[in-house]
Each structure stands twice: as structure tokens, then as C-alpha cells.
């Protein structure tokens, strides 16, 4: 599946920011919501925390059955450290998260989207219902913590998420964020 043309100029948000969320507890700004679902795959937002200089978005990806196998194998490629080769090899793909650049004040027309990179990535791949007599159902779990280095002035953040190659279409959800005021008092420093 090819991405729409609006992603042709898609830019990665780089990691050259200070991870202020590592040093403190942010204000809870948004709760759980579904971002994209497909057959046996789901992408959900667990929560959003606000800091003085940005937002921490916690995203969960889960898949079962063939979608779980595909999610796992789509990250493998010849010469990978594991040395595993799968024939036919799936095209490399990944869960995608994007925010319109206009949300960062980079473009007024909102045509350019910024792909979010994750700060932390915890994943596991195994099976559910395993027993000595049954291999169970393949299961894939992924927790992504994403940093968005801007606070939206109107408290709204359009977030696009999906994994089209595995059946989760790119879907835009506009997050209505709360608790963005008085962050200097709400954010608790650890250090």
C-alpha cells in the first residue's frame, strides 16, 4: 500500500531535543482513545502528559494472529543480527504516527505532516494461550513513548496513526488536551 501524496515531503521529527519528561512528572492532558484499528491489530493512545516545552504521548500497538506475525517479521531483514531469513520477506514497515506541521507553526496550510519518532520503544512478541499441547496464538505488543516538542496554542493536536501494511489505516484523531495552563506548578521535577 502506498502512502498518499501528502506524505511525499514528510519529515522526521529529530531527537535533538532535551527529554524534559525524563526529569519530571507531567500534567495529565488526555486519556486513552483508539487511534486506528484493523483486523486483529489496534493502535491506541494510552495518555498524554504536558510539560513546559512539549507533550509526551504514550501509544500502544497490539496485534494477534497473522497480523502479529507480520508485525514482527516486517522488522526483520536479511543480515539482521538474528540471522533469520523469512521467505517471502515482508516489506519493512512500521507503525506510523504523524502530526501536521502546522501544529508546530512550521506551515500554515497544514499540508505537510511530521512523522513522529519514538523516544522509547518496548516490544514483545510471543504467543497467548501457550501450553505443552498448543502453541497458542501469536501476539505482538509494542509501547511507544513519543515526544512532541510543542504545546498547541488552542489545546488541540491532530494526531494521525496507522499501520496500513498490516491493515490499520492511517486515521486522524484530533486530541482535545486539558491541563495546559499553569504547567510550571503542575509539572513535578524528579531531579
Amino acid at each position: 500500500m502506498t502512502r498518499p501524496s501528502k506524505y511525499g515531503s514528510l519529515t522526521n521529527v529529530t531527537n535533538d531535543v532535551s527529554w524534559s519528561f525524563e526529569e519530571g512528572l507531567g500534567a495529565l492532558s488526555h486519556g486513552p482513545c483508539v487511534l486506528s484499528t484493523g483486523p486483529s491489530i489496534g493502535i491506541g493512545l494510552r495518555c498524554v502528559f504536558a510539560y513546559l516545552d512539549g507533550l509526551l504521548l504514550s501509544v500502544e500497538v497490539k496485534a494477534t494472529g497473522q497480523a502479529a506475525r507480520d508485525a514482527y517479521e516486517s522488522k526483520l531483514h536479511p543480515g539482521s543480527r538474528s540471522g533469520r531469513r523469512h521467505v517471502p520477506l515482508l516489506p519493512r514497515s512500521d507503525a506510523r504516527l504523524s502530526v501536521p506541521a502546522s501544529a508546530a507553526g512550521l506551515r500554515p496550510d497544514g499540508e505537510l505532516w511530521l512523522r513522529l519518532t519514538h523516544h522509547s520503544d518496548r516490544r514483545s512478541h510471543g504467543s497467548r494461550g501457550y501450553s505443552p499441547d498448543d502453541l497458542g496464538t501469536p501476539a505482538y505488543v509494542r509501547d511507544l513513548d513519543v515526544w512532541w516538542p510543542t504545546l498547541p496554542s488552542d489545546g488541540r493536536l491532530p494526531l494521525e496513526a496507522g499501520w496500513p501494511e498490516l491493515g490499520a489505516p492511517m486515521t486522524t484523531t484530533v486530541l482535545a488536551l486539558e491541563n495546559l495552563d499553569q504547567l510550571a506548578e503542575r509539572v513535578v521535577r524528579l531531579g
Binding site: 495529565l28 497480523a67 514483545s124 501476539a139 509501547d143 513535578v188 531531579g191
Partner: protein, 188 residues
């Protein structure tokens, strides 16, 4: 492994091997409590980013920060007996020997939390350990309160925090499903 949720009073022997029930597996946790600083002493701090409620358990998203000088050193075992104890301990509680200790008390039953599902970052040149992990807590307290105990080596003695979780069962039941069965996806 078992797919049955734990009954009140049951304590998992190897908690990281406990398989979530199907209803918990398919849902995003509902937020039962927001950020709380659990303990802070010079050089060490542990906080709760938030507490998620699932139909039959909780998830505590914990973060910790320690200056290198305050991280307890891991000393080599001084005897074969001590080595055997450490090996047994590691079999049931994998992870770093000098991890923080976190216990949650559900209905008067304390359970040590497994910090296996975690993301660590050490340093950036500033000699600081930063830990972030999602720790599972089995069962839902009927008292709508949860007591957390954290400690970390000699620097941080046991420190207790009691969270009030009003309407916890209603919150847990509101957890949003986001994974549905379907035919196997095809890849072009």
C-alpha cells in the same frame, strides 16, 4: 501459564509469566490515578506517572531517577550459598540486583512488582540513571485504595503512599477495547 485471573489473596510466583485475561489484553487501560511523586531524597526520586485500571488488574507506570553515586553497587557473591540464593532470586525476579524495590498492597496482600518491562537510560554523560517501566499489579483492591511502597538501597528507605481510587471498578470496566478479531491481514 494461566489465562485465569488471580483470585483475591493469590500471589503470582513468577508474575512476568502471568498471561493477561482476554478482556484485559484487548483493552487500553483506563486512567485510575494521575501523577504522584512517591519518594524523593537527595540524589534519588521515584514517581508514578499514572495508574491504569484494567478489568482485572492495574498497571503502574513508574519512573525513577538516581544520581550514579546513589545507585546501590552490585557486589559479587561472597560464597556459593549466596550465589545460589542470587541465582534463585534472579530466576523469579529477573532484572538488576540493584533495582528499586516496589511493593503494592491490594486488599492487605503485598505483592512485589516486577520491573522487567522497562526502558532504562543511563547517563547522557551526566551519570544519572533514569528508569521507566510499566509494572503490573494483579487484582483490583476492593477498598478502592492502593498502597505503594518504594525503596532503593541505602539512599531511599521504604516510603509509603496510599492512593485513593474512587469507583475503581467502574473505571476499570470503562477501559476501551481497541483490538478486535478479524481475518488474517494480507500484505501487498
Amino acid at each position: 501459564m494461566t489465562t485465569e485471573p488471580l483470585r483475591p489473596g493469590e500471589r503470582p510466583w513468577r508474575p512476568w509469566q502471568i498471561e493477561d485475561s482476554d478482556q484485559t489484553w484487548r483493552r487500553l487501560g483506563a486512567i485510575a490515578h494521575g501523577p504522584v511523586l512517591l519518594a524523593r531524597v537527595p540524589g534519588v526520586a521515584i514517581g508514578l506517572r499514572c495508574l491504569f485500571a484494567h478489568p482485572d488488574r492495574l498497571t503502574a507506570w513508574l519512573v525513577a531517577r538516581a544520581d550514579a553515586a546513589f545507585i546501590p553497587p552490585v557486589l559479587p557473591p561472597r560464597s556459593e550459598a549466596e550465589a545460589a540464593v542470587q541465582a534463585d532470586l534472579h530466576e523469579h525476579w529477573p532484572g538488576q540486583l540493584n533495582d528499586p524495590l516496589v511493593h503494592a498492597t491490594v486488599d492487605f496482600m503485598p505483592q512485589r512488582l516486577s520491573l522487567v518491562e522497562r526502558n532504562d537510560s543511563v547517563g547522557h554523560g551526566d551519570g544519572v540513571l533514569r528508569l521507566s517501566c510499566a509494572a503490573r499489579i494483579f487484582g483490583l483492591p476492593t477498598s478502592d485504595t492502593l498502597r505503594l511502597e518504594v525503596s532503593w538501597g541505602p539512599a531511599l528507605p521504604p516510603t509509603f503512599t496510599t492512593l485513593q481510587l474512587p469507583n475503581l471498578r467502574r473505571t476499570a470496566a470503562s477501559a476501551v477495547p481497541f483490538l478486535h478479531d478479524g481475518p488474517a491481514s494480507s500484505v501487498s
